[in-house]
Amino acid sequence: MPAVQETVERVKRIDVDQYRYGFETLIESDKAPKGLSEETVKFISEKKNEPAWMLQWRLEAYRRWLTMTEPTWARVDYPKIDFQDLYYYAAPKPKKTVTSLDEIDPEILKTYEKLGIPLREVAMLEGVEPKPGEEDPARRKIAVDAVFDSVSVATTFKAELKKAGVIFMPISEAIREHPELVQKYLGSVVPTSDNFYATLNSAVFSDGSFVYVPPGVRCPMELSTYFRINERNTGQFERTLIIADKGSYVSYLEGCTAPQRDENQLHAAVVELVAHDDAEIKYSTVQNWYPGNSEGKGGIYNFVTKRGDCRGNNSKISWTQVETGSAITWKYPSCILRGDNSRGEFYSIAISNGFQQVDSGTKMIHLGKNTSSRIISKGIAAGKSQNTYRGLVTAHRKATGARNFTACDSLLIGDKCGAHTVPYIEAKNSSATFEHEATTSKISEDVLFYCVQRGLSQEEAVGLVVNGFVKDVLQQLPMEFAVEAQKLISISLEGSVG
């Protein structure tokens, strides 16, 4: 069934031209010289007051990067990137050392206000209850780390988190304040030699978030990072490292936007998660980088390496992503299920419109005994976009009792776009049980007839069925994100069903 008219209209409404976050903030910034060399790497390291071991680490990555070539296997097509034509570091020009939010450049605060990011801890910190009706009762406390171009500008709720023993700070600070943790875990999930973009990130990453949850602690609030690319011609390279020690739990949210521009900007982040015995990490992303205009000009190249390591027994890592932005997305959040009985989950909604190209999916690598994984992926292609699911499920010889369930569904709106599914399923022992299904189809006529017969209009019936259908993924998102995500997608998912 082709998408119904109403769905088409609604998708048009969130079309690339309607990008809400396309404004640019005018602030002075401090940039590294253009291009990439050992000097640039040293410049960044110096700017960050990094210890010698960190600089060494970066330089090794840089030298390794020089020997690598760009990957070309993904189903994406773009002009060659000139890596010497980028700024690898841009920071809002500091006034002086910042100790409280009030000292942050008001322009930046305004940016985040426009984005709707709750940077101000408001009265909560002082113990003043919000007046009834003033605060959204549904809004829970979220600690936010905001990254503006290359630098983390503010981290909220630090004090309260400290009380619980949770470390949540920019990674640049963590390198100075908790070198033992950073040294132990950085690069242990995504090694510096992992792939072209991860290696580049290792050499030039400027900031990002660092989270450490001590044993047995359930992190008292959602942690959140908001990434914003503002400066022209810059690449953004954040590095996020989250460690959940034995028996702990943390939920982490990530959001991203960028101004509208004609040229393409590069975003190459690395996210590493480590879950020890009995720990659980929930990582959610609403990715809404600027996708380019309706002619396919501009937009972010989003080449991201995200990987979680279920290092301990009974650990769990869950990725949830809503991908609506970026000109090109190249992203495969993965789980290495090393610990026995560990579990990996991947829930994804990827929407492409205009000239966007999405090549995204996951890898579930079963190494431990009785490990299980679940993949739910919904792809929607509209306009002239290409939307590819690419996933790997593999069980090694010793991963006895491994289980996987995969369902990926796609919908096409219009006949100028493409939806593709490329799963790799590798079973290397007989006790591994894998199930995989993928569909591209319409809502069952029977179901629609049933609803219509009970008095719903065709549109309402489609809406009802689809809502039930996407809830699988949506309900995995923390509530604050679910609202934003729902706005972005409930719309475009209508007309599809698996």
């Binding site: 219009g414 079973a427 290397k428 995989h436 569909t439």
Partner: protein, 434 residues
């Protein structure tokens, strides 16, 4: 991509393969020139390896290493062995066309009975005129190698409206050890014709040989065709086969492949649905044991609207064997109302068995219904227990469940006699299980 290896493991130069065979390859001087060109393509690419996406799971450089020299023409003793093999593997009532070590054996074939119903020539004969049959639109190295080296094959044409009374069976027999056979055949099926085509690959005393076959099939509008391929080569053989099938409008095409032999095998097929209203049923079974490696790669290309395709694959993998299934359904931008389904299941009988599945969808039209499913796992313990509780020994209980498992694919064969023949081969495989 790696630079092509100029020398093979045994130290033979790759170019020797062509140089030493050139004098024996059929064809006019211009055909020989186009062969040389094809060989240069192969030399440049070398054997496919895992860095080439289509060959990711079947790395011929690692598995095979080198291409063996062209087999000599079969002598009297070889033909005698071949004659016995024909008797053992012929399907009752079928019109047989026999190729021994890549050379057509008229004495073993039913040419006279066949020519009453269909046009027949050998590839060797057609190559006296032109190289047309040696060209395909593929960039694959093994297909280029086939074009360079093909010694013979059958060229069949079935007239419009012909209703063939018996199946045509092409039997490939290997008698030479440590040598290669290159064959290429063409089958053109006329409009409204009804035909059954069976291809069998068997060994007659040959060891460690290599087969590289290519088949080009064109099916005319309204035709009804069954195409069955049974690959039961020697356990130390290599078989790489490429199919190019183009299907007209309102066709019913039923394709079935069974792999029960060869140390390393690959069937790579491209079926293009080029006419509206056609129904394709493409099915297969891989039965693998010891250290066998069996690869079925099938691309179904829906180029026009309103076609239906169904694919059912089963793999049973024992010991340290390795089964690969790569299926891709392509739906072109205009191919609206396409209905494509693909189901692949692997049964692992041993802890060291490996099953790799890569079912792909590539869809450019919005009003379609496409899907695929893939599973892999072991035999169901509770079913085994049930059968054992009723007195069946372990092995017999397993055999029964395996038969039921592959039965889902085998039962797609419509003809009772052929289906029984296929089941017979599967049963013999089960008996070979240690």
């Amino acid at each position: 991509m790696n630079v092509a290896v100029a020398k093979t493991g045994s130290g033979r130069a790759v170019s020797d393969l062509f140089a030493s065979a050139e004098g024996r390859l059929p064809g006019s001087p211009s055909v020989i020139a186009s062969r040389r060109e094809a060989f240069e393509t192969y030399e440049r690419l070398g054997l496919p390896h895992r860095r080439i996406e289509e060959w990711k799971y079947t790395d011929l450089r690692a598995l095979v290493g080198e291409v063996l020299p062209l087999a000599a023409a079969p002598d009297a003793a070889a033909l005698k062995r071949a004659a016995d093999a024909v008797k053992a593997h012929a399907i009752a009532g079928a019109r047989k066309l026999v190729l021994v070590d890549g050379v057509f054996a008229a004495d073993l074939s039913d040419v006279r009975a066949l020519t009453a119903e269909a046009g027949f020539r050998t590839l060797r004969e057609t190559l006296e005129k032109d190289a047309g049959l040696l060209t395909t639109a593929s960039t694959d190295a093994v297909i280029a190698l086939n074009a360079a080296m093909a010694t013979d094959g059958v060229v069949l044409s079935i007239a419009d409206g012909a209703q063939l009374s018996a199946p045509i069976q092409i039997i490939h027999i290997a008698t030479a050890a440590s040598a290669s056979a290159f064959t290429r055949s063409q089958v053109v099926i006329g409009k409204g014709a009804r035909a059954t085509l069976v291809e069998s690959f068997v060994a007659a005393g040959a060891k460690a040989y290599q087969v590289n076959d290519a088949v080009i099939v064109t099916v005319g509008d309204d035709a009804d065709v069954a195409h069955i391929r049974l690959m039961d080569d020697a356990p130390d053989a290599v078989n790489v086969t490429s199919h190019f099938v183009t299907v007209g409008a309102n066709v019913k095409l039923n394709f079935f492949n069974m792999t029960t032999g060869a140390a390393v095998s690959r069937l790579q097929g491209l079926i293009t649905l080029a006419g509206e209203g056609s129904e394709l049923s493409a099915n297969g079974v891989n039965l693998l044991q010891k250290t066998e490696h069996g690869d079925t790669t099938l691309v179904v290309d829906h180029a026009v609207p309103n076609c239906v395709s169904r694919e059912v694959f089963r793999a049973v993998i024992d010991d340290r064997a390795h089964s690969v299934f790569q299926g891709r359904i392509i739906v072109r931008p205009d191919a609206q109302k396409t209905d494509g389904k693909m189901m692949t299941r692997a049964l692992l009988l041993s802890d060291e068995a490996e099953a790799d599945n890569k079912p792909e969808l590539e869809i450019f039209a919005d009003d379609v219904s496409c899907g695929h499913g893939a599973t892999s796992g072991a035999l169901d313990d509770s079913l085994l227990f049930y059968l054992k509780a009723r007195g069946l020994p372990e092995k017999q209980a397993q055999a029964l469940l395996i038969q039921a498992f592959v039965g889902e694919a085998v039962e797609q064969i419509a003809d009772d006699g052929l289906r029984e023949h296929v089941i017979g081969i599967a049963e013999r495989w089960l008996e070979r299980r240690s």
